[in-house]
Subunit: 346 residues, 2 copies
């Protein structure tokens, strides 16, 4: 079924066969022939010929000549994560819509790997670069500037460049309010009260979420104690063990409410909870800052907050289109899923 592979047909080959010059063929194939006032007849003849000869441009050569490649980069920590893969999806769709080719590179939260990748993508002359969840944003931004590379940060903001991130503060505040509603007031505060669980307090996202939690609690007259904020990282096993420890400290019960900060933390917690009697579980209100479709289908209600990946990406692209280059931080309100209000209605 396959045509003989004719050893890489070039523009000149096509030109020869068409009895035209390379530049004419180039113009015809790129649709710029109108501007070059090449006769429609010639153009069409060339286009037809090129197609049937199976010609296709060498994009490296074009890129070299035009000093831009038609590639757009996205750097992110990992693929195997719902948020980042949603981001990839949205990014890809937008890139292809513009006829660009998405290059998505996972850097495993390794700052040196991130820097290498920026250099590499600059080497390929990507037209612009999106950087999500960077571990060292400022250093990357500097690198991009050295390479005169348009760039924008997502999720983890950069102090020196356009950034668009979720409104972590309000997302956490919303979940906190739901927990406050679900738990009787006398059990709001104090050890064993509503507890923020998981995440890394030194990172932007978690610190904003913790602020949202703390201030919403305070506004409800339930200023959280130190023991009500347990930022024990994002590791699932770690979360499991920390929750077990908390359960022990509380004399064999769960806190009145748990705001689980990320899906991995939720998984760890769920693994612990799975071993508890139903009554005990029903006595604790849950909420999760992250989304998984199965989350809404458990034996207890679980409001979840989901980052609006589409909106984040679209907004980032708009910033670049607008030629934004200076520092600027735009927030996108995340989406509340499985809210009890909606669940009650259904």
């Amino acid at each position: 079924v396959s045509t003989r592979a004719p050893q890489k047909l070039t523009l000149h080959d096509v030109a020869a066969r068409a009895g035209a010059s390379a530049s004419t063929v180039s113009a015809a194939l790129n649709g710029t022939w109108r501007a070059r006032r090449i006769s429609a007849e010639t153009a069409e003849r060339i286009i037809a010929l090129a197609r049937e000869a199976g010609y296709s441009v060498n994009l490296q050569a074009r890129g070299l000549r035009k000093a831009r490649s038609g590639l757009v980069g996205l750097i992110l920590p990992e693929h195997a994560n719902r948020f980042f893969s949603d981001l990839s999806q949205a990014f890809s769709a937008e890139a292809r819509k513009r006829g660009l080719c998405p290059v998505i590179v996972a850097t495993e939260r390794n700052p040196e790997e991130e820097r290498q990748t920026v250099r590499q993508l600059a080497g390929y002359a990507v037209d612009s670069l999106f950087i999500a969840g960077a571990s060292a944003p400022e250093s990357l931004s500097a690198l991009c500037r050295e390479h005169a590379l348009a760039h924008v940060f997502l999720d983890q903001p950069c102090a020196d460049a356009p950034s668009v991130v979720s409104d972590n503060y309000h997302g956490a505040a919303e979940l906190t309010r739901l927990l406050l509603d679900a738990v009787p007031p006398e059990r709001h505060a104090g050890d064993g009260g509503i507890t923020f669980f998981g995440g890394n307090a030194t990172m932007h996202a978690s610190s904003r979420r913790i602020a949202g939690f703390r201030e919403t609690m305070r506004a409800a007259g339930a200023e959280p104690s130190g023991g009500q904020i347990i930022a024990c990282g994002y590791d699932s096993d770690r979360a499991h063990d920390e929750l077990a420890a908390l359960h022990r400290r509380l004399g064999g019960r769960l806190p009145s409410g748990l705001l689980l900060n990320s899906i991995t933390v939720f998984e760890g917690a769920l693994r612990f909870i799975a071993g508890l009697p139903d009554a005990e579980v029903r006595d604790c209100a849950f909420a999760c800052y992250d989304y998984d479709p199965l989350g809404g289908l458990l034996r207890f209600p679980l409001p979840m907050v989901r980052q609006r990946h589409r909106a984040l990406v679209r907004h980032a692209w708009e910033m670049l289109d607008a030629g934004a280059t200076g520092p600027r931080l735009d927030l996108v309100r995340p989406e509340l899923c499985n809210s009890p209000a909606v669940a009650a209605a259904s």
Copy 2:
């Protein structure tokens, strides 16, 4: 903090500053200077100079010259899917380990988009191309051959090219055996018996899984009836509705066992199941051909089968390394998660 952007330093600039020629600099920077018998001193001087001048190669120019780009392509249906994002992760890791830059493009299960993408990636002179979950493999393989592009298929095999896919038959057989064990023999066969649910019987993966199901049932003396194989696609809503319909047909009960063919089908089913009384749910044995970490943490046991993405990718790469180019189909046994045996032990 940022260095002045010195308007794209080229190899010739470095050569000039070093008082050497372009070819010498090139050799020094590429580590080929030994072979060219350039003095270590010169080489080191040049390397130091280049680094401090902030030089970095133009990979498009290099690629043009060498007729290979250092890019490797992966085409897949979508990012927002656990299996494919796991695949991306494994692919990326392997690519970067080899100093190559992964280019992952999602084509939305659109055959024309797939073809376009192959052409585009060929235009960028990717060193090789991995194609996962293709909707029209043979046509893509032909395209690749036209472009003399080394390629390999994953997950969805191609009749004319090296392919590596999960052993769907045995994966399904294993799940079926677990269901047979969990359900009393008199309820194995007949309508309301163990039922294969979801997927598309015309597609490779599902058809192999159905075969595995059917033959394992038969071997257990429980040849499934037509009503016990409901290949209603992969859509979650559709699965929900079909399961509701089945429940109605069975006079308001679930079948004795359900082999849910994909996580989306499972989601739809779970949404329906969530509304049923506990006793009814406990009366049905479940299994799922796909993996999600939350699956193991539900109120009923759920054995799941997970494709070994790492092994798939590694094997595919080995085939390319070995220069495989003809048709060939290699199977990778998937992994059984949440098996009752293991659960019982813990």
